[in-house]
């Protein structure tokens, strides 16, 4: 669809006067700007010593939440691995242990390939029971690829580290659908 003539505003190149054409005032003005910046305080963050103050909705390392009894909250519905655009979530589901009276299904294995992950947060959005969340931990390193495959225990330990701290993801609320992991009210 062509743009309506009424919406078109023609802009002409500005005509340069004598001072503009000499360029020297403009250059001096530019030099003034750069010199001014020399005396401004630096904004650099000295990373390993200074930690960035990330917002609570930062999308960093995943965690698997625990329910009130300390069990993994995940019900292995595969919504996250379905939503994952990078196909980095690998789940093996199994019938829940017999002593988990309120649960039918749980993840026997839950592995996120943190190297493949693009940290888009779709898994978190897809999760019907708020079991997976992205924390503000961002500086994870590993010496091997295997080390960066975060399994269930590792992801639960991320929860243990981040839960209750000031950097707890702000979305941690019991969802309406978190039927299988929330204790009956």
């Amino acid at each position: 669809m062509p743009i309506a003539e009424s919406e078109v505003r023609w802009v002409k190149a500005p005509t340069l006067g004598l001072l503009d054409r000499l360029y020297i005032p403009a250059i001096i003005e530019g030099l003034g700007t750069t010199i001014k910046h020399i005396f401004q305080p630096p904004v650099t963050q000295q990373f390993p010593e200074e930690r960035p103050d990330l917002p609570a909705n930062y999308r960093g390392l995943h965690r698997l939440n625990r329910d009130t009894e300390g069990r993994v909250k995940c019900v292995a519905c595969y919504m996250c691995s379905t939503a994952c655009p990078a196909h980095c979530i690998d789940i093996v589901a199994a019938p829940a242990p017999a002593e988990w009276k309120d649960r039918e299904k749980y993840p026997e294995m839950f592995v996120i390939d943190e190297l493949r992950c693009i940290y888009c947060g779709m898994c978190e959005q897809a999760c019907p029971c708020d079991a997976i969340e992205l924390t503000s931990m961002f500086d994870l390193t590993g010496l091997t690829r295997e080390e960066m495959m975060f399994d269930k225990e590792k992801l639960l330990s991320v929860f243990d580290q981040t839960a209750g701290t000031e950097k707890d993801p702000i979305r941690t609320k019991a969802g309406a659908l978190s039927c299988a992991s929330e204790p009956a009210k």
């Binding site: 019900v75 292995a76 519905c77 379905t82 039918e104 299904k105 019907p128 299988a180």
Partner: protein
Amino acid sequence: MAVVLINDKPVDIGNERLNLVQAAAKAGVFIPHYCWHPALSVVASCRMCLVEVGDKKPDGTVAMQPRVVPACQTPAKDGTVCITNSEKAKFSQARTLEGLLLNHPLDCPVCDKAGECMLQDYSYRFGKAQSRMIDPKNRPANKPDIGEHLSLFTDRCIMCSRCVRFTREISGSAELQVINRGHHSEIDIFPGDPVNNPLAGNVVDLCPVGALANKEFLYKQRVWFLKSQKSVCAGCSTGCSIHIDHNKDIVYRIRPRENPQAQGYFICDEGRFDFPYINGKERFDRPLVKPAGERSEPAESAVAWETALPDIRDVLKKSASALAAVVSPMLTVEEAYLFAKLIKGFSPQATLYLGWVPNVGKDESFPRDRKGNPVGPVQFTIRAEKCPNRRGVEEVLKHFQGEVLGFDRLIADISSPLPTGGEGAGVRRRPQALYLTAGYPPRLGAWLNDEQTKTLSTIPLLIVQDLAPTPITQTARYVLPAATFAEKDGCFVNHANLAQQIRWAVRPGTMGRTDGQIFLSLLGRRGLIQATKIRQELAAEIPFFAPLAVGDLGEFGVKLG
């Protein structure tokens, strides 16, 4: 000639006896339904198919009934008027669905049915998003031991009673019934009498919600990850149409596919649950060769296809005049054709034998009561002949050899004092080389007894094509991997001469090749096997298979003979 008006659209239903759900389907209008199933009796218990119904009088006036009625229970007659999209009909359907969902636990995340659940689909299309239920829901206890392969999630049930009717009308065993009344009704079994009839697995497919689950498939995969391939069961000579549900080269589930020409709507548990061998770890996936002269030595070494196949062709050529080949009834028609062509190509004196035809017990027909007596007309038959393609292979052998020699004849011929050489096509010889194709599923057990194995191992050159190690592969000089029905294209001819197409769903291992591909390569033809082309070739050559010239046999197959 009857004309029914569905949403003001006239549909000619001819002389068929249809209900309004079926008549509407002819008009391209879908009426939601849970309890109605074409193979089962009508109970109109779910009330999901409520529509407005009226009659068009000969003078053109229409008299509508004042209330909505279930479409599944209303026969379509000439002049029946059915309205499915009026406010009243839609309101009734939405309220019905709300009622069905009152006690439904909404545990879709952990439910195996999610993704193919009719509650989900209908809620999306016909229902409303939110429940107004504020009271606590009924949470009856699950019944995980309702059957050997079945688990009942009682709280998800919407009491459509399809499963109950199935056990009464199709399997005849009547294990399931509804207990209690009203909101507290549940599906249950008699204590200590689980649903273990040979057709029990069908109730899982019949269940429109996630209440009845297949324990073998439970929590293995979400259904939306599965890819489905239309195929044919290789379990018996009935040749039931099936869906093979697979993902990443692993078969996870086999479901029945409706085929009025073959078996109807259902399959037996034998075919449904006998697929794990396809994913088996012990299967061969490359040729194994034993050094010549060391036949008792079990140390075989895997070799590349590129060296094994020319080798095998050479040794077969050398012993062409005393060559025998066993054509397994597990092969497709195309493979049997290629194999026969290959063997007869070496020498017209080479002999083809039909492979072992497994016969287990007797044909089982359903419905039958607990004592095994038939009740009413036959709805489903499990055949004793546990191979899918005896008819097809026989016809191929007849064409190439004029007669069908059974497996017993082979055993007899090996131990007979027949000459090992000589001229003439009609003269029978003692085989000096044997190319044996097998591919029988392990469920059938060891198909050669010790004596037969011993007899076979006296043959100097033995080539065995099989799925997994067996005593006979131990003694063979060459072992080639066979492929299962889920891995190859082709067609099977069932007991009633119905040729049905099978299509590959998974790949035969990393290095594996299908039987047809092996025969094709041995024939010296290049490229990958194209079953359709081979089928057309054999249709042109063998008169019995002439109807296969269409190439693609469609969903339901083609009748032969």
